[in-house]
């Protein structure tokens, strides 16, 4: 082996070591335990596909997956809103710099702080209902009524995450040559035409990246908000997979079942990852 090759492997080794210890081994161990009924205390009892069979008939898990689908349906808002705002900033609408800073602000707040803040605003006797009450509009229990709770959490999650998407879109927009937009303007294109005919087509790789990253965020990063704002309720209205996995592991002591849920979630996220790679490959191939 060449001396340079050894150095290459040495440079990769720390990252590879961390990956194996903190990702690969837990993943393999979790996959193995998903075939057991294990409370984490006594020896696991091996039950084959029992946990996966239970998942198919578990109404709470099904409700959780349905919630996930509902949240994924709102994906166009998660992506479209920051795209639109980024375009406005890129086209230098008045106050663009202020908006850029303001949009990024939620990113620096932890989900616990955001959740607490919006719990105070959205609870039944919270700020929002007091405000609408001034106009004699009856208040709504945004967080405690199953008809509104998931919507409330989704809107807060969009607010919490859209700043990062704006930044990614802005960096993507810098790759569009300004001469093209200028030429379109000279040719008489209006704002809508510039956005639809030039900006969005040229931004396609970035849009695809944000779509996939946002999907993964939805699947794996809403725990903090749910935990603080609704605790998953009312009923199962705001249960998401990672929240249910956490309940099964900690509260129910069912590590085997939680592992089966984790493996299922991993497969879903992996499929999204594969979709990401294919999308990018199609886009980049000549």
């Amino acid at each position: 082996m060449k001396r340079e090759s050894i150095f290459v492997y040495l440079f990769v080794l720390p990252a590879l070591g961390l990956f194996v210890i903190f990702r690969l081994i837990p993943l393999v161990a979790g996959s193995v335990f998903s075939f057991s009924d294990w409370n984490g205390i006594v020896d696991p009892r091996w039950i084959g596909l029992g946990n996966y069979a239970e998942l198919l008939t578990d109404p709470v898990f099904q409700a959780t997956m349905l919630n996930t689908v509902k949240v994924l349906i709102t994906l166009p808002i998660w992506v479209g809103l920051p795209l639109l705002l980024a375009i406005f900033i890129y086209l230098e609408v008045p106050g663009a710099r202020v908006y850029r800073a303001a949009y990024f602000f939620p990113i620096v707040l932890s989900s616990i702080i955001i959740g607490t803040m919006f719990s105070i605003i959205l609870r039944f006797d919270g700020t929002l209902n007091q405000f609408v009450g001034l106009a004699h509009i009856p208040g709504v229990d945004w967080l405690g009524d199953g008809r509104y709770a998931l919507l409330a959490v989704i809107l807060v999650a969009i607010w919490a995450h859209f700043g990062m998407s704006v930044l990614i879109f802005l960096s993507g927009l810098t790759t569009i040559p300004p001469e093209i937009i200028e030429a379109a303007r000279i040719d008489g294109a209006n704002l809508t035409q510039i956005i639809w005919r030039i900006v969005i087509p040229m931004l396609r790789p970035t849009i695809e990246l944000v779509v996939v990253m946002t999907t993964i965020t939805i699947l794996t990063s809403m725990f903090g908000l749910i935990y603080v704002m609704t605790g998953g309720g009312p009923g199962t209205a705001t249960y998401m997979p990672e929240f249910l996995i956490w309940l099964m592991q900690g509260q129910f002591n069912r590590l085997g079942y939680a592992s089966a849920m984790s493996v299922t979630l991993f497969v879903v996220v992996a499929l999204v990852g594969i979709a990401q790679i294919r999308l990018m490959r199609n886009q980049w191939s000549p």
């Binding site: 205390i41 008809r147 609704t230 605790g231 009923g235 199962t236 900690g250 509260q251």
Partner: protein
């Protein structure tokens, strides 16, 4: 090498070995809890640490306050890894019993202490041994705002004794004040399960209660339907504060009672933000009444012991601990008369130790609670016997019943399915 230098080196070596020996004797007893960060509880945790360390030179107690909300998840991780704390604080009931396999049986080790303690049943394994020693006793009790009662034309010295009285009080509060009759803090569904348990105890016969304790009572049984019918009556008659599903039991619900927005609050009797000490501090001494849960569809004289009591919180020893003897001594310090007295005075904790003199509790609400403990309490709480999965389902369906998104029939069917599933799984 000069002999003086040799002597100095020898002395240094001896000193070094001696210090190593001292360090070898030094031990750290790691204690996990979810309470010591509460200002009211801190004096108690401070006193047991200092008392124990004084009696055990060379031993340091490391008290680690874990977040209450995630305590059992973090503890689960420690249990899985078989390392971490020597002593752990646990809530009574299934939260403790479900972890029995990871805890040391304590009956023999505390044979001299057990006769002085009450509330042990909530830490009792099926074979009769105990997995924790209770520090406090706990139970659910109604607190009411006397000003709201007066505004409604009710006599604050005569709280409801029966469900009919309760209905009359709620009707009056609703008609004559802007307050609601009852509030919960049901954000996590906890208060609904407490309400169900108090209605059940007010309604059921001793036989039905025993059947439930043995997990032999179906959720679709007539007895259970009767309990849920009363809960539904509370909802349908508009007795419950709007928005309870977004309120926490420990802060919001107490604030709502203290601010006169509601007449009644189902709280706890000991060492919690919704127990007498904090409720009275916030509402004002003399403004808080304490009432037993009402007798439901029966004469109160036929069911006078309507305050269900069991062990509240208790200390347990982990099986992997290498300091189990020290842990036993630590827990004996924690349940001692002296420490329990501090718990009572600082945090309003009602000690499990029967040797503690409760006459030191001077507030009106505390005296009433202590009075009920003496005259009207019964060992064991229905809420401690909900199996974890049933409890979670009950929390979920309770929230949906309150918002009208689920019928009683569907709710009971749903919990019964969970019960049957758990029975099948355990087989």
């Amino acid at each position: 090498m000069s002999s003086a230098l040799k002597l100095k080196l020898m002395m240094a070596l001896v000193a070094s070995l001696a210090s190593t020996a001292v360090f070898a004797d030094d031990k750290t007893l790691v204690v996990w809890d979810f309470k010591s960060s509460e200002p009211l509880m801190k004096p108690y945790f401070d006193i047991i640490k200092s008392t124990f360390e004084k009696a055990h030179p060379g031993v340091t107690v490391e008290e680690i306050a874990q977040p209450a909300d995630t305590y059992y998840t973090v503890l689960g991780t420690a249990i899985n890894a078989q390392q971490g704390p020597d002593v752990v604080l646990l809530n009574g009931g299934n939260l403790a019993i479900d972890r029995a396999d990871a805890l040391v049986p304590l009956k023999d080790k505390f044979a001299d202490t057990i006769p002085n303690l009450v509330g042990l049943t909530s830490f009792q394994r099926t074979d009769g041994d105990y997995i924790a020693m209770p520090l406090t006793v706990q139970g659910s009790i109604w607190y009411y705002n006397k000003d709201v009662y007066k505004s409604a034309g009710l006599d604050p010295s005569k709280p409801p004794q029966t469900w009919t009285d309760f209905e009359a009080a709620c009707t009056a509060i609703k008609a004559k004040t802007s307050a609601s009759c009852v509030t919960f803090g049901n954000k996590d569904g906890t208060d609904f399960i407490n309400v169900i348990a108090t209605i059940a105890h007010g309604m059921w016969s001793a036989d039905t209660r025993a059947k439930f304790f043995k997990h032999d009572l179906a959720w679709t049984s007539d007895e259970m339907r009767g309990v849920f019918a009363k809960a539904k009556e509370m909802i349908d008659n508009g007795w419950i504060e709007n928005g309870v599903n977004s309120y926490s039991p420990y802060t919001d619900a107490v604030n709502i009672l203290a601010g006169g927005r509601t007449g009644n609050l189902l709280g706890l009797i000991s060492d919690a933000p919704n127990s007498w000490k904090n409720v009275e501090d916030m509402t004002g001494e003399g403004n808080v009444g304490v009432a037993l849960p009402p007798a439901v569809d029966k004469d109160p004289a036929a069911n006078p012991k309507r305050l269900e009591v069991d062990g509240g919180i208790g200390f347990a020893i982990t099986k992997w601990s290498t300091n189990q003897d020290l842990a036993v001594d630590f827990i004996k310090t924690a349940v001692s008369t002296e420490a329990a007295a501090v718990l009572m005075q600082s945090a309003g904790g009602l000690p499990s130790n029967t040797k503690v003199d409760l006459s030191g509790l001077n507030s009106e609400a505390a005296k009433q609670v202590v009075n009920f403990l003496g005259c009207c309490s019964v060992d064991g709480r229905i809420k401690s016997y909900y199996v974890t999965a049933e409890r979670a389902e009950l929390q979920r369906v309770g929230q949906l019943l309150i918002t009208g998104q689920m019928s009683v029939d569907d709710a009971l069917q749903s919990i019964e399915q969970v019960r049957q599933k758990e029975i099948a799984r355990k087989k």
